[in-house]
C-alpha cells in the first residue's frame, strides 16, 4: 500500500526561482491529505497530475499567506469541477471566517459541503481516524498560532503465511489469525499457534510535518521515531539569529530535531527567497543528520512498506 509524499511547493514567504509556496500531498493508503496550500497549489496539483478531487482532507498549519492562500482557489475549482463529496478543512481560528466571507461576496453556493474543524494550537488532538490511518496535530512554536501534523498508519494485520496455512481453515479463524490470535477448537483446545501460521504485521509508517517553527525540542515528544520528518529550514546556519527572531529554523536545527527524534529520514524545505542555490542546505543538514533530502517540487518520497 502506498505511503507517498509529494512536494508541491518548497519556498517560504516569497516565491522565487520557480519555487512555490508550501503545499504537500500525502497519499496514505489512498487517503489524499493536502498539507498546507500556498498560492498556486491548484496549478501545482494540475502540473504534477494529482487528482484534485480525491483530496477530502486539508490541513492548514497556520494563517500566514504562504501556507493557505491557494485554498480559496482550490475550493472554487473543486466546485466548478462538479465536486459533491464533503471536504474536511482543519485550520486555526479565522480560517473558516476567511473562507465564508469570500464565498459570500463571490455569490457562490458550493455544490459540496465544507466541514471545518478549528485547531487548538496549544494541544495535540486527533483530527482524523479510521481503520487504517490516524492524523494528529501538535503545537509548533511560531509567531502566530501554528500546528504540526503527524500522520500514522494504524497497526496492521498479521500476514497469513500461505505456505503454512492448513486447508479448509474457516474465514472466522483466518480473521483471528490476522488479529494475532491463536486458534482453539470448540472444546477450547489450542489447535494452531498464531506464530506458526503467520508472518509479523508490516510496519505502520508515519510522517510528521513541522512548518513553520523555531527550534523547539518539545516537539520531539510528538514525532519520536517517525519514518519521514519534514522540518522547515528557512535559513542557512549563517542566519541563525534571524531565524530565532522570525520564529523559523536553520538547516542544522532541523537536522538536530531529526536526530533527537530518531527519525528515519528528513526532508527540509520552506527555503528563503534569498537563496538560489540550495546545495548548502543539504550539506549543512547532512553534517548532523545524514539521511536528509531537499524538498523538491514535483518529487515524490515513498516510505517503503516493510
Amino acid at each position: 500500500m502506498s505511503f507517498q509524499l509529494k512536494i508541491l511547493g518548497s519556498n517560504s514567504a516569497t516565491p522565487a526561482y520557480g519555487r512555490h509556496h508550501t503545499a504537500q500531498l500525502l497519499n496514505v493508503q489512498n487517503h489524499y491529505f493536502l498539507i498546507d496550500c500556498g498560492e498556486a497549489t491548484q496549478i501545482q496539483l494540475s502540473r504534477y497530475k494529482c487528482k484534485t478531487q480525491r483530496i477530502n482532507h486539508i490541513f492548514i498549519s497556520h494563517l500566514h499567506g504562504d501556507h493557505y492562500l491557494g485554498l480559496m482557489g482550490l475550493i472554487f475549482t473543486m466546485h466548478l469541477m462538479g465536486r459533491q463529496a464533503d471536504l474536511h478543512i482543519f485550520g486555526q481560528k479565522g480560517l473558516e471566517e476567511i473562507i465564508v466571507t469570500q464565498l459570500k461576496y463571490s455569490g457562490t453556493v458550493l455544490n459540496y459541503t465544507i466541514i471545518f474543524r478549528e485547531l487548538n494550537p496549544a494541544l495535540s488532538e486527533i483530527l482524523f481516524e479510521d481503520e487504517w490511518v490516524e492524523v494528529k496535530s501538535f503545537p509548533l512554536n511560531h509567531r502566530i498560532p501554528c500546528s504540526g501534523f503527524i500522520i500514522k498508519e494504524k497497526p496492521k494485520p498479521y500476514r497469513i503465511d500461505k505456505e503454512k496455512l492448513p486447508p479448509n481453515l474457516s474465514l472466522v479463524n483466518i480473521a483471528r489469525l490476522k488479529k494475532g490470535e491463536d486458534i482453539y477448537d470448540d472444546q477450547g483446545n489450542l489447535v494452531y499457534k498464531n506464530r506458526d501460521l503467520t508472518l509479523p504485521p508490516r510496519k505502520s509508517r508515519s510522517y510528521a510535518y513541522c512548518s513553520d517553527t523555531k527550534y523547539d525540542e518539545t516537539i520531539i515528544h510528538y514525532i519520536k521515531n517517525v519514518d519521514l520528518l519534514y522540518h522547515e529550514a528557512t535559513f542557512l546556519l549563517e542566519r541563525e539569529q534571524w531565524a530565532e527572531q522570525t520564529f523559523h529554523s536553520t538547516t542544522e536545527q532541523a537536522a538536530r530535531i531529526a536526530l533527537l527524534a530518531e527519525a528515519k529520514q528528513l526532508i527540509i524545505g520552506h527555503f528563503s527567497a534569498r537563496y538560489k542555490d540550495l546545495t548548502p542546505f543539504l550539506t549543512e543538514a547532512r553534517h548532523i543528520f545524514n539521511n536528509t533530502l531537499l524538498a523538491t517540487e514535483g518529487e515524490a518520497i515513498d516510505v517503503p512498506d516493510l
Copy 2:
C-alpha cells in the same frame, strides 16, 4: 511615452494549459495600473520581469476568485519586499473586509498603507486623475457586482515646431504655445499665431477593460472610439446560450462590441478551460472585427503615440 498593456493571465475560472487567471498590467506614462489580480499574479509579474513595487493602483473588477485571489499574496509580498509607498486598491464592496480579515489573522501590520476605494458598480466614476491620466469605472453586466475600467490619457500639449520657433521666445510664451494659445505683445497685438509655430498635440490614447460581462450594448457609451479594447470572450459561438446563462460573452459578441464601439483594436481573453486550441477564437472574432488579438500571457500590446 509608453502606453503598454501586458497580459499576465488569460484564462477564466480554472487555470488550464499553462494559462492563468485574469491579470493585466497597464503602463501609461509610467503609471503602473494592475487590472484584476487572479491567483499567482505575483508569480506572473516576476516571470515577466515586471517591477512589482511600481504598482501603486490596483483595480479589481469583481469578487469572483479568478479575478482577485492573487491580491492578498501580492500585498504580503510587497510588504516583505519593504514597500513604503501607499497602495490604492479599488474594488467592490467586500474586498476591504476580505483583505483586513486576512491581515488580522496573519498577525501582519503592513509597513505601508492601503487606501481602499469601494466601487459603485451601478455608476461610471472617476477613480484616478492627474495631469496625464484618468481612470474611470463603468457598469458591466455580470452575475455579481462588476465594473469595467477605462484609462485615458489627458489631452496632450501642442508640440513646438523647433524649426519654426523664433529665437529668444520666453518660457512663458512657449508654455502658451503648448496650451494652444496665440502670442500677443504687451499692447495686445497678435505676434504669432499658434498654428504657425506648433504641430498638433499627439493623440490621447485609451484602453478599456470589459471582464466579466454578458453581451450588453449599454457599455458602448463608455468605451466609444477606444484605441484598445479588452473584452472577455469566454466561449466560442457554439456555447452562446451557456454564455448568456453564466453572464459571459462569446467571440462574436466581443467582436460586435468592438465594432459598435468603433474600437481601433480588440483583445479577447478569459478563455474557458474547456478549450485547448484558441485558434477558433481568433477566427470567429476576426470574422466580425478584423483587428483582433488573443490575450497571450507575457505578451505586451503597445498603443502607438501618434
